[in-house]
Subunit: 144 residues, 12 copies
C-alpha cells in the first residue's frame, strides 16, 4: 500500500502569489499543492495537503497524522519562529518531519533565523521556492 | 463611496472594564466601539469592529480585509509582543495599519516594550485610552 | 455550596501516554482527570476539566470562569513559555491560579525554564506527574 | 482662562524639509508650528512652540513650564534615545506629557526603538508626521 | 520500618514570622516544623528538621543523609540562587529531593528566578507557604 | 553546452565514514562524489568535485570558478560557522550557491546553528545526508 | 592659604524640594549649598557652588577648575549615567573628585546603576541626602 | 541611653595591611576598629566590631543585631558581590544599614561593580579608606 | 573658488597637551589647528576650525555648514560614543564627513569602540595624532 | 629545609568514589591524599592536606598558609565558579597557586566553565583525575 | 638606506574591481599596488606588496617581516574580524602596523564592526578606498 | 612497541623566545621540543613534533595521526579560540588529546578564555610554560 504524507502549510501561506512576491515568488498555494500532488504520484506516494492560520488547528492535524500518515512535510511560516507547541506536537507524534521554507530565512530579519521546528525535523530545505516541497517529498520517500 | 476601516481588537480586550481598571480604565469594549462608530460617522468613514482571543481568527480577518477595507486599526493586545504571524498577515494584505494601545506599554513590563506590529504599522498611538482609537481614525482618514 | 475549580490542560496534553513517556510517564489525560475528580470529591470541591491545543480557546475558557469557578488549575504546556495572552487572561479574570507541570521544566531545554503563567499564579508545582494536580487541588482548597 | 501647552522640538527638527525628506516628509518646522497654532485655536488652548539643539536648553524650558503651562507636547528627536536628563526634568516638573515622533521609530535603526521620554509620558504618537502634533493637542486637551 | 525524610531550611528561614511578613506570612519556623511533624506522622514517615545560615553546614547535613534518610525536602532560601556547592551535594548524595519555597519566587526579583537546586530536584513546589512542605511530604511519600 | 557545477567539500569531510558515523553516516566522500557524478549525468550537468581542509584553498577554488562554472554546491563543514572570508569569496564570485550539510545542524551544538554561507546562498539543505547533494544538484539545475 | 573646592550640581538638581520629594527629600539646593558653605568654613576650606542643566557648561567649569581649585565634589545627576564627556573632563583636569548622590542610585532603575564619573572619582557617597555633601567635604579635606 | 551600632567586616578584611596595600592601604583592621571606636565615642554611640570570613557567621551576627543594635555598618568584602543570603538577612533584621568599601569598587574588575548589599542599604560610601567608616558612623548617627 | 572645509573638535580637545599626554601626545589644539591651516593652504582649501564642549553648539555649527562649507572633518571626542543627535545633524546636512581620532580608540576602554559618527562618515582615521587631520584634509580634497 | 605545600580540597570532594563515579572516577579522597603524600616525598616536599565544605573554613586555611607554606594546590570544587572571597584570599596571601580539577570542566555544564580561582592561579590542570594533583606538585616544585 | 614597508592584502582583495564594485570601487589590486609604489617612491620608502587568501600564508609573511621591513600596512579583509592568529603574529613581530580598509566597515554588517587587528595597530584608516593606502604610507613614514 | 605521540604547536609558537617574553618566557620552540623529546625518552614514548601557522595544515596532520600515533598533545595557540575545524578534526580522529597552553589563558584577554579544543580534550594544562608539555606527556603516558 502507498505510503502517505501530510503536507502542512502554516499562516499566510494561503496568501502566496499576493503576498510580497519579491520574497515568495508568484506561485499560488494551489499551484504548489498541484506540484506536490504530481511529484507524489510520480513517487507512488499518497499526499494530503492542509493549510491553516491557526496554531491550534495545525497541532490538531499533526496529532491526527498518527496512524494516518507516514511522514510530515511542514512549512510552518511564522510559527516556525514562535511556536513551541507545534514543536511539541511534532515530537509527540513521532513521524519523520521535513521542514520547508520558500525563502532563505537566513537572509531575512534576525527573528526568522531560529526555528523551533528545525529542532525536531529530520532535515530542512529553504530558499528553493516551490521546488523545495518537491525535493522534500523525494527525501521523505527515501526515508520511508 | 465611503472608505471603509477594519477595527480589530485582540485577546482579552473583551474584558475591558472588568480587567485591571487601574491600567485600562473603566470603559467597556462596547463603549469604545460605539465611540469609534460615532467618530467614523463624523469623518464619513465606514467601520467594522471585530474582537477575538484567537490569533488565527485575527489573521483570517486581516486577510479578508483585502478588497473589503481601505485601512486597519488594530489593538493586538498581548499578541503585539509575540505574534510574528499577525505581523506577516498585515504585511501581506498591504493596507495602511494604525496600531493602538490603551495603556502606555513602555511604562509596563519589559516584555510589552517590543511590538511586532509596530514594524509594519504606519503609526502607533499608545497610552491615550479610548481616545487613541478616535485619533487613529482621524489619522487613517487623512492617509486614505 | 461546593466551591468549583476549573482544571485546564494546554497543547499536546491530550497526547499523554503516547507522547515521550520517558518524560511525561504513561498516564493518559483521562486517567489524570479521573484522579482529579476523585480528589475533588474527597475535598468537597466541584471540578470541570478541559483540554485544548488552541491558545484562543484556552483564553475563552479562562474568561468564562469568571462567575462560574472559584479557582483555576492550569497546565499550560508549551504555551507556558510563549503565551503572554494567557497570562493576561488569567490576570484579568482575577481568580487564584495554580500552575502545574508534569515534568520538572527546569531540568529540560532552556526555553522551558521561563513561564509567563508563573508571573500571575499563586503557586507552581512541577515534576510530580499526575500527583501534582492532586496537590494543587489541596492547595487551592485551602485558599478558597 | 485658556489652558496653555508648551510644544518642544528637539535637535535637528529645525532642519525639517531639508533633512531626509524620504523619512520626515517635506513639511518645515514653521509649517508644523502654524498647524499646531491653528489646532490650538480651534480647541481654545494657548500654545508656545520652542526648538533647540541643546539638551540643557530643553531642560531649562521644561523646568520653566512649571506654573506657566498645563501640559507639554515634546518631540525629543535624538535625545529621546539618549537623554536621561530630559526624562528627569519631565518627571520633576510633573505636568502631563505627550511624546510625538514624525516617523515610526520602530521601523528605523535599533538604537531608536527605546525612548527614555516614553517612560514618563502619558502617551506616545509616532509615524503620523505633522498630524501627530495635532492629535497630541486633542489628547492633551481631553486630559486637561 | 518507617521511611525517613530530612527537612532542611536554609539561611534566614529562622527569621520567619519576623522577616517581611507581607512576603513570607506570619508563621514561624517552629510552627512549620510542627506542621511537618504532624503530616509525617499521618503518613507514617520519620522526619528530621534542620535549619542553618551556613552553606557548609547544609552541605555537611546533606552528605550525612546518605544511609540515614530516604529523601530530602529542602527550602534552600537565598542559597537556591547562588550555591552550586549545595547543588553538587544533593547530586552526590543521590536521594530524591523536593524543593520548596514559601513564596512564588517567579513573582519576585529577577535574581530569584533561577535555582541551582531545581536542576537536581525531582520536583519543585513554590508559593504555597507552609502548605508547600506538607504537599512535598505527600509527594515524597509516594516516591518512596 | 553542458552547464558546469563546482561541488566543494570543506574541512574533515574527507574523514566521512570514519568520523562520528552516528552523526554523519557511513558513506565515504568518494561514495558521495560518485553519487553526485551520477545525478549530474542524469541531469546533463558537468560537475567538478573538490575537498580541502584549508580555508584559503577553498577560497582560491571559489574565485577560480568564475568563468569556469555556472553554480556552486558547497558543504563548508566547520568553516560554515567561522569563515567570513569564504562568505566574501562566494559573494564576490557572484554565482548561485547551494549550501548542503549532511546532518541537521540545528539539532547540534549552538555554535553550529549560524552559518555565514547561508547569508549568501540561494538555498540551504541540511540533515538529508548524501541525498542532500543530489537534491541540491536538481535545485541548481532548475536555476541555471 | 585656604584650599578651595568646586561643588558642582548637574541637571535638575535646581528642582530639589519640588522634584519627587519621596526620593530626594524636601531640602532645596539653596539649603544644601548653605550647609556646604557652613561645613567648609568649619573645615577652613573655600568653596564655590555651581549648578547647570547643560552638559557643556559643566565641562567648561570642570576645565576652569584647573589652577583655581584643589578638588571637586560633583553630583552629576542624570549625566552620571550618560556623559562620557564629563568623565573625560574630570580625568583631564586631574584634580581629586568626590561623587555624591542624594539617593541610593542602586535602589532605583537599572539605568542609574552605572556611573561614568565613578570610574574617575576617588570615592563615591550615595543615599545620604544633603549629609553626603558634608561628608564629601570632610573626605576631600583629608585628601588635600 | 547610647544608641548602639554593629560594625561588620567580611572576608579577608582581617588581612588588611598585608593584602594588596596598593589597593587597600597599609592600615590594619585593628587600626580601623580603633578609629571607629574613637569616632563613636566622639558621637556618643556604642559600637561593637566583628569580622568573619564565614558568610553564615555574618548572617548569624546580623540576625542577632535585632534588639541589640540600632544600626549596622557593613563592609561585606567579596560577599557584597555574591551573597544574596546576607542581603536577605539585612532586609529581615530591618535596621538601617550603611555599606562601606575601602577601595572604589567601580574602578576595579567588572565583577565588583554590583553589590547585593547596596540594594538594601540606606547609603553607600566607597573609595575613602578608613575614613569611610568614620563618615558612615556620622551618617548613621544622624539617622538614629 | 576655493572649496571650504569645517574642522570641528568636540569636548575636552581644548585640553590637549594638558590632558593625559601619554594618550593624546603633547600637541596643543592651537598647534593642530595651525597644522591644519598650513595643509589646507598647500591643498588650496579654505578651512574654519571650531571647538566646543557643548553638544548643542556642535550641532548648530554642523547645521550652519550647509551652504557655507563643502565638507566636514570632525573629531567628536567623547560625543562620538554617546551623541545620536550629532549623528543626525551630520546626516541632515548631507556634506561629506571625515571622522578623526587622535588615539586608536579600539585600544582603549570598550565604551570607546563604538562611534555613532562612523555610521554617517565617509571614512575614519584614528590613532595617527595630529597627522590624522592632515590626512583627512587630503582625503576630503580628493572627494571634493 | 623542605618546602611545604598546602593541598586544599573544596566542597563535596570528601564524597569522591561515592559521588558520580562516571564523572569523578572511583578513587576516594583518602586515596588521592595518599598519592599526593607519596609524590611529595619523592620530590622532597612537605604537604598538608585539608578538605572542607565551608567556604569560610577554606578562606581561614588559605590565610593561615602565610608563613606556614610555600605554595598552594587547590581543587575548589563548586566554589571555583562562585567564590570571589576565595579568589581574594588567594590573592591576599600571595603564594603561588595551582588549580586542579579532576574532570575537564569545559566539557560539563556552562556554569562550570568559568573559575574565579583561575584568575589568580599560576596554572590550571584539569581532566586528569588524581594524576592532576601529582603533576601539580611537580609544577609547584619547579616554581619553588 | 631606505626604510622598507610590507603591504599585505588579505582574502578576496585579489578580486577587486570584479567584486561588488558598489562597495569596493572599480580599482583593481594591481592599480592599488602601482599607486602604493608611486607614493612610496615619492616618500623615499621601499615597499613590498603581497596578497593571499590563506590566513597561514599571511602569518608566515608577517613573521618574516622581522628584520626585513620597518613597518606593515595591512588590509586583512575578512580576517580582520575572525583571525586572532594574525593579531598574535602582528603583536609578536613588534613592528608598527597601519590597518587599512577600502570601505567604511562601520556602515556595513555588524560582524564587520570589530577588528582583532585594530587592537595591535598604531592606527586605522577606513572608507577612503585606494587613497587609504597612500595616506597610511605617509603616516607610517612619519613614524619611522 | 613504543607508543607514539604527536605533538602539535599552532600559529606563532615558532616565534617563542622572540614574541612577548613577559608572557611566554624566553624558551624557544626548539628548546621545548628538545625537552619533550627527552621526557618522551624517559617515559619510553616515541614523539613527533610539528608546528604550523596554517589551520588547514594542522588539520591535515591531525587526520594523518590516525593509525600513526596513539595520542596527541596540542598547543593550538590562537586557533584554540577560533577554529571549530580543528575541534572537528580532533573529534574525528578519535585519539586521546591533551591541550597545553604556555600562559594561563584565563588571566589574559576575554577572547582567550574559551577554547574549542577543550571541548574534545581529555585534559587541559595551562600556565606552566614548557613544563606543561612535559606533564602532558606523563598524563598521556598513563592513559595509553
Amino acid at each position: 500500500m502507498a505510503k502517505s504524507v501530510l503536507v502542512l502549510n502554516g499562516p499566510n501561506l494561503n496568501m502566496l502569489g499576493l503576498r510580497e512576491p519579491q520574497i515568495y515568488g508568484t506561485d499560488t498555494l494551489a499551484h504548489i499543492e498541484a506540484l506536490v500532488a504530481e511529484e507524489a504520484e510520480r513517487l507512488g506516494l499518497a499526499v494530503e495537503c492542509r493549510q491553516s492560520n491557526h496554531e491550534g488547528q495545525l497541532i490538531d492535524w499533526i496529532q491526527q497524522a498518527h496512524g494516518e500518515h507516514h511522514g510530515i512535510i511542514i512549512n510552518p511560516g511564522a510559527y516556525s519562529h514562535t511556536s513551541l507547541a507545534i514543536h511539541d506536537a511534532l515530537k509527540a507524534v513521532g513521524l519523520p518531519v521535513l521542514e520547508v521554507h520558500l525563502s532563505n530565512i537566513f537572509k531575512r530579519e534576525a527573528f526568522r533565523h531560529h526555528s523551533y521546528v528545525s529542532l525536531v525535523a529530520v532535515g530542512v530545505i529553504c530558499g528553493l521556492g516551490a521546488t523545495g516541497y518537491r525535493l522534500a517529498l523525494q527525501a521523505l520517500n527515501e526515508k520511508l
